[in-house]
Amino acid sequence: MPWMDVMADMALAPWLVILPLAGALLAGLWPAAARWWGLLTALLTLVMALLLALQVHAHGPMILDLGGWAPPLGITLVADGLASLMLLMTAVVGLAISLHALGYLAGEGRGHWFWILWLWLWAAMNALYLSGDVFNLYVTLELVVLASVALVALAGGAAPLVAAMRYLLVSLLGSMAYLMGVALLYGAYGVLGLQALGAQVALSAAPMLAAVLMTVGLLAKSALFPLHVWLPPAHGSAPAPVSAALSALVVKVSFYLILRLWLTVFPALPLSGLDVLMGVLAAGAVLWGGLMALRAPRLKQVVAYSTVAQVGYLFLLFPFLRAHPEGWKAVVFFAVAHGVAKAAVFLAAGTLQRAAGHDRLADLGAVMRGRLKTSFALGIAGAGLVGLPFTGGFIAKWLLVQTALEAGLWIWALVVLGGGLLAGAYVFRLLGPAFEPGPADRGRPLPAVMEWVPLALALLTIGLGFAGTPALSLLARTLAGGGG
């Protein structure tokens, strides 16, 4: 198609950072209209992300030196299949979050702070996905963390503040470890670019130590069991759109970074040994998170613990990386499917919480019966979390199991299947109150958008059920690893 050719020459990547940043700026300058700036930004960013994905799909990875400066001092933007898929997921979920926030934050005096921070967070995430060197990744990572922490704290009150504080400290700890790793890498090789590092890293002490420090630091940020404890309070007590953004997007950011590092920088390092350790942690996460989700008394806590469990699947990455060349794609697809489904669940939970005035599961029945659309969204997106068919979650689960079996790692296949059972248990626990006898009650009046957005996002998880092939072919346009 001719327009595709025109597009091939366009530098889309910078806009994905510039647009949200500009949005944040405008929202700050013009607080009364912050929401509309936010919405406009979200829409435009989605369009850009879509175009970028198409472009990458058609022409392969794009590399752009900002301002013509070459690395190491200049900043390079790299948009390949993996990055553009994550950008697209972020944009779609981001638009939904923005729309939902329109209703959720309606009538709140300090609402514009949300928009500023949220667009700032979005810009930071996009920048992170597009960064091509380890130090820029550090900076963007810190930006993500600071914005997220501020967003959590936005809710006010003791619980969110304490949660935010804990989140910040854990994140900073992780960042420091990561930065130490960066320093070690630079000390050893004198370059920062992912590709350049990948080309040089060999089996020796410095990169090994760097890899471990960076990985563990990022593990703390992505809340892998047993370093997950900061997540449930933070995600559970933040405002619903923020919870959605944190659980669906921010957690994926540090996972993405780990994947990038091991895919591009450290392929030369041995994974045997590490894969078992990570696999065990992943299994522990799936089990622990699932059990905690079964016990938590509040809707959003259940969903937060569900994130803890599902992060476990992400770190099956390591066994897969070692045993199967394409294995990481399954995990990435899972990350995308989980992002969409989890956002839908959190947004639906937010709607119910707003309608009922609380989110205690035991007393939520009436509102769930009254707010059918939202309960439906909860159900469908929940099915996505469990991995029931016709949802992206099913395809993701299928890919995970397939990869595991293909590589002969049946034990991880068992973890995936067993985790699905636990997920089934807590998702149906969530839905239970809707089926108790009693009156239906619509609760407090809410803008319609708060009901429609979770539903639309839930339907999108069904759409993802048919997106396996395009997503995989987009992932095939990922920049290959370095030296190995």
């Binding site: 019966r369 059918l372 659309k373 439906f376 099915a383 469990v386 029931l388 068919p389 016709f390 099913f394 395809i395 689960k397 299928w398 890919l399 199991v401 397939q402 079996l405 293909e406 296949a413 068992l414 299947l417 067993g418 699905g420 059972l421 089934g424 248990a425 149906f428 839905l431 239970g432 089926f435 108790e436 006898p437 009693g438 059920g465 048919f466 396996g468 092939t469 995989l472």
Partner: protein
């Protein structure tokens, strides 16, 4: 290239869309809801008739495929077996919808009920039209999702417990199934169902792996088919309203499991390969154990619906027994029981529902003298129960006849002993309610009488469907040789599996006496 896949899609949507629409109706919108329900059910019925005409008269093939993952498609296709199951579902659904409208009159949450009810039929028809194992798996899991709300519909602590147990079993089964299907897909790719199986070309040393996968598949489907160690959810799920029990037992859940087993045995492994692998005999033994165990438990169950539930546990294994005999005649018996059991069991559940709803009868010993108060329902009950025992000329007899002949043909004459024992046990738990109903006198009032004083013994929407399915149970046996009978149809299916000459020589040669 097959065309007309839109027909299949339409058939799915004919229940899906009304179902979704019904969810968002208010409780009071009775007329609209009923119109949507019946309209959808009728439309589906007509579409399936059109499909049948297309397949059998015009020789068309219908299929539709959507890509899911590289090399893996979601395939809907109509072959003889799918049409059999789909027709069963469509017909019984129409009837059950009418029944449910009558049954749930004035009860709360009807919109939700009928919404999930319609989702359930969509999933079942999806299972019927699944063209490969993955599609089957997908709809199978959807069915779990759609039936759970029906099981917990009443919202009592008991129904939640039943729902939990149901989920525990079915999700576990689904997980095992997923593992098996992925594994099989890795070995053999995602092939469409093929009569005679598609695993022949795998090398001989794959044998142990194939056996393992077979066991997993059986465990996965066996959960819903209530095979022996996996049956406990079924009697507990009886807390659901009567139309749901009827549907779970007759068509949807239990049948889906049995249908899956048939598919795996006939169209994935192929009977020949399965027999070579030596997996049919264990399956046969399992089916036999289930048959006997279910019957024994039914004898000791005092609650009418419990008794029917254990009877289902037993009867569904007839289907598995039939296909596990690994011969054409046994397969005829098993497959035809897929339909016959459905019709008879739905009749029994309708009757149980009528008794409970009209007179408040829940236990077998409360049925004294009910024949005089509700002769029509009691007639239907008698017909269906006798059919279950295998008394001619009812549908169950036809199944049992071919199962027996199939056992002899397979050289497993001892299986007939199982049939005999099971028949006697069936008689032991079905005859007492029949005899009490007809010949005992009622002293004192009924436990909870409603619908009294009308010209009919109960609400017409309860009575009419009951009579209709009872008539079917009779007609399927009495007129088994008609070209529209399930038996005739099943012979077509079996023909594809075993080859044309074989089956006709074995079964229908008496046509020239």
């Amino acid at each position: 290239m097959a065309t007309g896949g839109y027909m299949l899609l339409l058939i799915l949507l004919s229940s899906l869309l009304p179902g979704v629409a019904i969810f968002f109706l208010r409780e009071q919108q009775f007329a609209l809801r009923t119109a949507l329900n019946l309209g959808g059910a009728t439309l589906k019925f007509l579409l399936i008739i059109a499909l049948l005409v297309g397949v059998y008269r015009d020789g068309k093939t219908y299929s539709l495929s959507v890509n899911l993952l590289p090399g893996i498609d979601l395939v809907l296709a109509a072959d003889a077996l799918s049409l059999l199951f789909a027709t069963l579902s469509a017909v019984l659904w129409l009837v059950t919808t009418i029944y449910a409208i009558g049954y749930l009159e004035d009860s709360p949450n009807r919109s939700r009920f009928f919404g999930f009810f319609s989702l359930c039929v969509s999933a079942t028809v999806g299972i019927a039209f699944s063209g490969n194992l993955i599609t089957l798996l997908i709809f199978y899991e959807i069915l779990t999702l759609a039936t759970w709300p029906l099981v917990v519909h009443r919202g009592t602590a008991e129904s939640f417990r039943a729902g939990r147990i149901y989920l525990a079993y079915t999700l576990l089964g689904g997980a095992v199934l997923l593992g098996a299907v992925v594994w099989l897909t890795l070995l053999a790719g995602s092939e469409p169902f093929t009569a005679g199986g598609y695993l022949h070309h795998l090398s001989a040393d794959q044998g142990p792996v194939l056996i393992m996968i077979f066991a997993m598949l059986m465990a996965g489907f066996g959960v819903k088919a209530a095979l022996l160690p996996l049956h406990s959810w079924l009697p507990r799920a009886m807390v659901a309203p009567a139309p749901v029990s009827a549907l779970l037992h007759a068509v949807a859940v239990v049948k889906a499991g049995a249908f899956g087993i048939v598919r795996v045995l006939n169209d994935v492994y192929g009977v020949e390969l399965a027999a070579d692998l030596g997996v049919t005999l264990p399956l046969l033994l399992l089916a036999i154990m289930t048959i006997v165990y279910g019957s024994v438990r039914a004898v000791f169950a005092d609650d009418l619906k419990q008794r029917l539930a254990f009877s289902t546990v037993s009867q569904v294994s007839y289907i598995i027994l039939g296909v596990a005999l690994a011969g054409p005649i046994g397969a005829v018996g098993g497959l035809v029981h897929l339909v016959h059991q459905g019709v008879m069991k739905i009749t029994l559940f309708f009757c149980a529902g009528n008794f409970a709803e009209t007179l408040g009868i829940h236990r077998v010993d409360e049925m004294r003298g009910v024949g005089r108060r509700m002769p029509w329902t009691m007639t239907a009950f008698t017909l269906a129960a006798l059919g279950m025992i295998g008394i001619p000329p009812l549908a169950g007899f036809i199944s049992k006849w071919y199962l027996g002949l199939g056992a002899l043909e397979a050289g497993l004459a001892w299986v007939t002993v199982v049939l005999v024992v099971s028949s006697l046990l069936n008689a032991l738990y079905f005859l007492p309610p029949i005899l009490r109903g007809w010949f005992s006198r009622r002293e004192g009032p009924w436990p909870d009488e409603r619908h009294g004083g009308g010209r009919l013994e109960t609400h017409w929407m309860l009575l009419l469907p009951t009579m209709a399915v009872a008539a079917m149970a009779l007609g399927m046996g009495l007129l088994a040789s008609l070209t529209i009978s399930p038996l005739y149809w099943v012979t077509f299916i079996v023909e594809f599996e075993y080859g044309y000459d074989h089956i006709w020589r074995a079964i229908f040669e008496w046509e020239t006496p």
